[in-house]
């Protein structure tokens, strides 16, 4: 009984962390650790961790847009709009710095506007190459990562190999727990709603990672032995960018579906980032981006996205695929028609949902989701 209580307590605690606004995130940082922001998994969090920071991921906090319009045209994704809004309002002034990484044109533009505003004492633009199937790009990126390391060291002091290795182990452990969590969710799907899973994942980006690992470990250790009983929902795969609001998962469940796996940029996709723990840690950090396909803003051959998505969908046991994309996101929308054609050709129906402002458009999405799930059941 006490085991069950602690399981529920942990779920509640993680949900609370996920729901924190920036000011609360700021007040919950461990003493002595410096908060640094970043957007994208191409920024090696391990390096930030080893430098003594808490890497905090900017991922579309609910906020009313009123300052950002003076800097951005309407045709930008909401992630960029809301992050700039937070920045201009001063919500992010507690950060000691930000690391941008080259991804899409909109993010590139944001990085420059960020610099001009100059509210944070440190900004590093990590130029992640785009041609990630080339050894030349690997050599180039290695220098970029070295430069990031040097810039962090200049600000925060030497990063030893040992501390980097330790950070690598920490993040690998986190990913290992998350992988187990996804597996548990499949075996015992009635135990936790999808929203709970989303919040657990989200919490990890907004807090000290040592504490996060403890919470995750506690959660898995306290996971009840007996299954909560199977639910009859339609298994679905969720594909998209950084759209990790628990609300989507709830909506899908209300419609009678259930996400069995995802490739969200903030979700299961980050499990592809696991690193080799032996050898030179900087090499290992760099190499992982060249061995795994991660993001449509990058080029890894013309079929890479299709091949990996199809494989994951097939392995997941999903009956259909939901695409959840930010409106105006070119990288995803260019890939979409061919992905859809491929998946549907292999017997996986798909549904595209477009998000402009995540805090809106719930009802209309619900109707479309219901129709989709009904068709699959």
């Amino acid at each position: 009984m006490s085991q069950k209580t602690s399981f529920l307590d942990l779920i509640k605690e993680l949900a609370k962390i996920a729901d924190r606004g920036w000011s609360e995130v700021a007040t919950h940082l461990p003493p002595g650790r410096i908060p640094i922001g970043y957007f994208c998994p191409y920024v090696p969090e391990e390096l930030l961790q080893a430098a003594g920071t808490v890497p905090l991921r900017l991922m579309d906090m609910p906020v009313k847009i009123s300052h950002a319009q003076a800097h951005l045209p309407a045709y930008c994704c909401h992630l960029v709009k809301s992050s700039l809004e937070n920045y201009l309002r001063g919500d992010l002034d507690f950060l000691q710095g930000i690391v941008f990484s080259q991804s899409c044109d909109t993010m590139k533009g944001l990085a420059d506007i960020w610099t001009i505003e100059g509210r944070l004492p440190f900004q590093f633009n990590l130029m992640v190459p785009t041609r990630l199937n080339s050894p030349l790009a690997r050599d180039y990126f290695r220098i970029e990562v070295e430069n990031l390391k040097a810039a962090l060291e200049k600000k925060l002091g030497k990063i030893s190999d040992e501390s980097l290795k330790e950070a690598v182990r920490l993040f690998n452990q986190i990913r290992k727990r998350l992988r187990t969590l996804y597996a548990r969710m499949r075996l015992d799907p009635g135990r936790l709603p999808g929203k709970g899973l989303a919040q657990i994942v989200q919490a990890g980006y907004l807090m000290d990672r040592d504490q996060y690992l403890q919470l995750l470990t506690g959660l898995l250790d306290s996971w009840p032995d007996q299954s909560a009983g199977k639910t009859p929902e339609v298994p679905l795969y969720l594909s998209g960018n950084i759209v990790h609001s628990g609300d989507w998962f709830s909506l899908i469940e209300e419609a009678g579906g259930r996400i069995v796996y995802d490739d969200l940029c903030s979700g299961a996709r980050t499990l592809r980032l696991t690193i080799k723990e032996e050898g030179d840690p900087l090499d290992a950090l760099v190499d992982r981006y060249f061995t795994n396909y991660l993001c449509p803003t990058k080029h890894q051959g013309i079929e890479a996205h299709q091949e990996l998505l199809l494989k994951e969908v097939q392995e997941s046991g999903a009956k259909g695929v939901i695409f959840l994309f930010y409106k105006y996101c070119e990288s995803y929308y260019f890939d979409y028609p061919d992905l859809k054609k491929l998946l549907e050709g292999k017997g996986f129906p798909t549904l595209l949902l477009e998000i402009e402002d995540p805090s809106q458009a719930r009802e209309q999405m619900k109707i479309r989701l219901q129709a989709f799930v009904e068709m699959l059941s």
């Binding site: 930008c76 080259q102 899409c104 533009g109 610099t115 001009i116 785009t130 080339s134 260019f334 028609p337």
Partner: protein, 408 residues
Amino acid sequence: MATKKTAPKSYREIESVKAYRRLMQGYYLMATHPKWFGKKTAWITSGGPVEPLYAMGVLPFYPENYGAMCGAGREAVSLCETAEAQGYSRDLCSYARLDIGSSISGKGPLGVLPKPNFLVCGNNICGTVIKWYEIQARKFQVPLFFLDTPFIHKELTDHTIQYVRRQMEEYVAFLEKACRRPFSEKRFLKVSARSVEAVSLWKEILELSRSRPAPFAAFDAFIHMAPIVTLRGTGWAVRYYKKLKKELENRVKNGQGAFAREEIRLIWDNIPIWYDIRNLSQLLARHGAVLVADTYTSAWTLKPLDLANPLESLSRSYASVLLNLGLEHKVANMSELIKQYQADGFIMHSNRSCKTYSLGQYDLKKKVTELTGKPGLIIEADHTDSRSYAPSQVEKQIETFVEMARTR
């Protein structure tokens, strides 16, 4: 939308335009019938290194230039709709959409476009082209060479040049494989020399408009830029620009401007609104305003190639085209244009099709006005998709702006 086909009376027609038409007709005849001429063709992005292609005897085809043609001829929307029917979002760059639509339907101003032998994509202009070229590579099942030029927020670093340079070597190897013959250094140098010459001529032509009145308006430059994009590296481009330059020098000598009335001098930022060029040109002319320069056509005044070290300088030059540079550089570039061309203000096209060009324009406007004291106007449109354009609103904005610039 005003669609009058006649040029305003105050406009002075460029005589070389006949030679221009013949030249481009010739080029498009080859591009649409490469087999007649025994040519291989490659589709290449506007910022892609074309000199190695010409050196290998491969004819480049520019989907973006084709996009401009579809836009100006008002054929873009139906082609975009074909792509949209296949699931391509209306929020994607309309050059890409119309090109994809045209390759699906086989329609467009040039009819069915011949299948390219391979594709060359450079992301020095945007990230859009990567996705677009991946789609076309899958569709045509042809090899794709991708030249990756990391964005330059501040300065061009040595390791970036080295990265691009090593890729240039790969590019040469790729071409040798695709064409099944060795790369001739000699031919490459010859092509590069012609490219250098055409680029300098183009630069000189644009700079002629620093004089008052400007002999060559930006609207002219939008048309006459086609050879510097498509035929850079050929003798044709050099010959054509020599002719054009001579004509324009005569204008300067005789104190003739592109427009009879030139009271307000303005700079244009971003890609033209291709389907409404004529209307906007007339509108400005009615108010005595002339666009004397722009950031778009001046992007092809690439850094001159160093013929003693061609691959290295090719890398440097292609890595640092305007669209691959951060906001600071854009502010400097625009302010410099205003100064050099003695402009009274600037008009910025916030182009929903081109995020790389349009993100940051609000800050750009603010900074440039701070630095130069000149006012700027932002208008909203799309370079080829006229469905996202409200002409009467834009016309009103421009009229008010010109009158405001007059009183400053």
